[in-house]
Subunit: 344 residues, 2 copies
């Protein structure tokens, strides 16, 4: 095999070196503490055909880890991404010296055969030039892509619209607001300290609200006087309620995270906001007038189905124009089966 | 004008006849009562060029009227659709004898110039054959179209999927379940009486749950063992919570109504579920892995923006692999600005 010829060993690497790793020692309950983690070491095995050895340079800590780890048994390696440097290799696409991203977990050294990784394959970072490689975990990695795709594909902001982002001073939120500005939108951020809010204004946000000291609902009224068209939600909870009440017609909400309740008890994993994130649910409210231009299509399709005996109906008919309030009151109580109508 | 030649007068119609109409006498609070309504009469004016006179045959009572009327002052005509017969006409497309649908409100006689109606224009019903014209208010009208378009366009059910509908024995819900069956789906209905549930089973629903006597969550587990792919929601509230917890990944929810809280106090108009309906909001949860196939597009776009000076960042870097739990705990408390990373 040609690949085996590319095996090279970094000067300081030997199979006697050990990897350090953080173990999920105890299931999270409430806010994580040191008792949830345990540091361990393990020997680094010798490389086999097609493998490389990567040494972590930067490791990522992300909000998603808190809810995700609940799916893992105690004793598992903590999950997470890292920017690493290849220090030994028997894989042509991951040569020594390459700076890569890998979903290797909380560990210093990783032996990996990238061809055998099914999900979250490691990849060589594009040339960042003079920018720090740590950006491969942030703006030029998962959080940056979360902002880029979530805003573009789900919020679909148009120039002149107002975009609100919660968790605005985080890795994702700070990118969302700036991308919204680049699109020609008004950007409003909600964050948790005055220093964060000042930073958001420096980044070009039109407005920044410190939810810890202010009335978010009232401040949003001022910051978004024309209402809110897009909401990029990282936090859920009360902030989201205040935003949703001020959304404009046909507004779009991208639910990226629900960090406001990640530290709540295990029992609350079924919180609706989390359901939306982790199951990627889509919910859309509608008024049928939206399809006014296809109105007869619907009537004719249903008429055909009735004639074919495939669609049946029942009606609850109240007789007499003077009985209209009675029919209405009864219908709201669920007194009808099928359509409630009044025969004059 | 040619149209004026078509003026004809029904034998029994004269301008002395009076129209009866129901007035919204008092703003709804809680469940409507007779005190909210007042019956009045008014003379029917003589027809002018381009007008017709319609006599109501069937009038509709619909859940939406309860929240919609809150936008009208006391003394307004109650809003609503009706199936009516044209009994005098000076409009060629609405000849005498035509059966029409009109959004005329709760009134027996209506003079209308259809060319001057901006929204909700009246229309002549298609030929229903031997079917009752009242269907123009139900399955072959607004509720039928609500089921047809809402299910098709927003739930987008695929054969083999499971569709749950709340308010299943209503005009909309009973059509939704049947249309889901026609599409090859499993249809589960939630309704408020045993009689309604029996009817749903007769219509072909695979399962029907009486929410008044049963544990909806547990019954759904049985009725939809493979989870729920589509939810057509007419009611909101606790039933919706139980359904949403059992949705499958990438599930679709069409929020059509929130009747469970229509009778609550005026103050609750801002309830989130209603916001979704009346503002036609769209909310979608997401995981960025959805765009794995476009991953480098995102990184390269953001890299370009950074280089152009349009996209800025800050990082919160914790030094030392042994500090990973500290960095994680701090990040969950909001201690970071921008991306939180650990430098090994």
């Amino acid at each position: 095999m040609k690949a085996s010829l590319t095996i090279l060993t970094r000067r300081f690497y030997s199979s006697q070196e050990v990897a350090r790793k953080w173990i999920y020692a105890k299931t999270f309950r409430g806010e994580p503490t040191h008792a949830n983690f345990r540091l361990e070491t393990e020997p680094i095995p010798a490389l086999r055909e097609g493998e490389f050895l990567a040494e972590a340079e930067y490791l990522s800590v992300d909000p998603y880890m808190r809810p995700y780890m609940l799916a893992y048994p105690e004793g598992s390696l903590m999950i997470g991404g890292q920017v690493a440097r290849v220090i030994a290799s028997s894989h042509p696409r991951f040569p020594i010296g390459a700076t890569i991203f890998g979903q290797f977990g909380w560990r210093t050294h990783t032996v990996c055969n990238p061809d055998q990784v099914e999900k979250d394959k490691p990849y060589v970072l594009p040339d960042f030039g003079t920018l720090p490689t740590s950006l491969g975990l942030g703006l030029l990695g998962m959080p940056g892509n979360t902002a880029y795709f979530g805003l573009r594909e789900l919020c679909q902001p148009k120039p002149g619209e107002t975009v609100v982002v919660s968790g605005a001073a985080g890795a994702v939120g700070s990118a969302v607001g700036q991308l919204a500005k680049i699109t020609g939108c008004r950007a409003v951020g909600v964050a948790g300290s005055d220093a964060k809010c000042e930073w958001l204004l420096k980044l070009g946000f039109d407005s920044a609200i410190n939810y810890k000291h202010n009335n978010v609902y009232a401040d949003l009224k001022k910051a978004a006087p024309g209402g809110i068209d897009c909401y990029f939600d990282n936090v859920g909870g009360e902030i989201s309620e205040a935003v949703i009440k001020q959304m404009n017609v046909a507004g779009r909400i991208a639910v990226c995270g629900a960090i406001s309740n990640y530290n709540t008890s295990v029992a609350k994993v079924t919180d609706p906001q989390r359901q939306f994130v982790f199951k990627q649910l889509r919910m859309e409210g509608f008024l049928v007038w939206r399809w006014n231009d296809r109105w007869m299509e619907g009537i004719e399709a249903n008429l055909r189905l009735i004639r074919e005996g495939k669609l049946r109906y029942e009606e609850t008919i109240t007789e007499g124009f003077d009985k209209m309030p009675d029919a209405f009151i009864d219908m709201l109580r669920g007194g009808n089966t099928g359509k409630a109508v009044v025969k004059v």
